[in-house]
Amino acid sequence: MNNSESENRNLNVCDLKYLNDLMGGKKHLVKGVLDVFLIQIPEELQCINEAVTKINYAVIKGYAHTMKSTVSIMGISCLTDILQEMEDLSASSTDIENIIMLNQKLNLICNKAIEEIENEKHNYV
């Protein structure tokens, strides 16, 4: 691995090592999960964004909870605390301003993750 590749990996929000290990290095299986991720995450983001706009705490909590499993499999560790905080805040139905701010971070990181995976996917054909 050269220096620029190593730097890129450090800047990436996704770390697919865990997923690769899970799939025993089988590229077609990893690609299958990546494809599902690329469909699932935009749908979940849309739902959570709508829920934040409508201040629907129950829906925010539900999606934040579901997304925790997804981000852990995709190695997006920087989202674990954000989603946990969103889940906790929405469980107590408080601090919508903070939830809005966390949701902005969530969108930013998820969009970066989608971009990375779109690029990375071609290595798993």
């Binding site: 025993g24 852990s72 499999i73």
Partner: protein, 175 residues
Amino acid sequence: MIVKAKNKINIFIVDDNKVFSMALKADIEDAFADLVIEIFTFETGEKCKRRFMQVMPELVILDYYLNSADFGAADGIKVLDWIKQENEETNVIMLTSDDHIDIALKSLKHGASDYIVKTETQFRKINYSLLNFFKMMEAKVEARRYKRILAALFICVALLIIGVTAIQIFMPSQL
């Protein structure tokens, strides 16, 4: 792997997170590659119910929060109750992201055979649980086999005793 495959084992994974279900399915298939396993994935308990009666799976891996995003969907406990009502023999492993003792106790009380918290080591824990389940299945099959052998042996001995008694009664001079 220690356990040996004889018959096909049907496993249902019921989780509203498709990424999780796919990853778990691939992981189980990889970990137990020498077993004949068919894994079905479902996003809701309702979809699982529709297929349950046809397949009658030996094991169901069930998410506790099945209705975290779809509020109309049945939660894990409701699905667990339904499974146990339809087939008491089906083993259920309950999964949840929350490490609450109440949820664990509730799941076990409703008939779950194991309870696993979704953490970084979740897949390893599930595989250990599956390994125990497969060993248990194998032990049950062995127990049934020994029971049949014992029954056959008992019948042979009984027939021998009857034969000897009959000879003693009807043809005492032969002995």
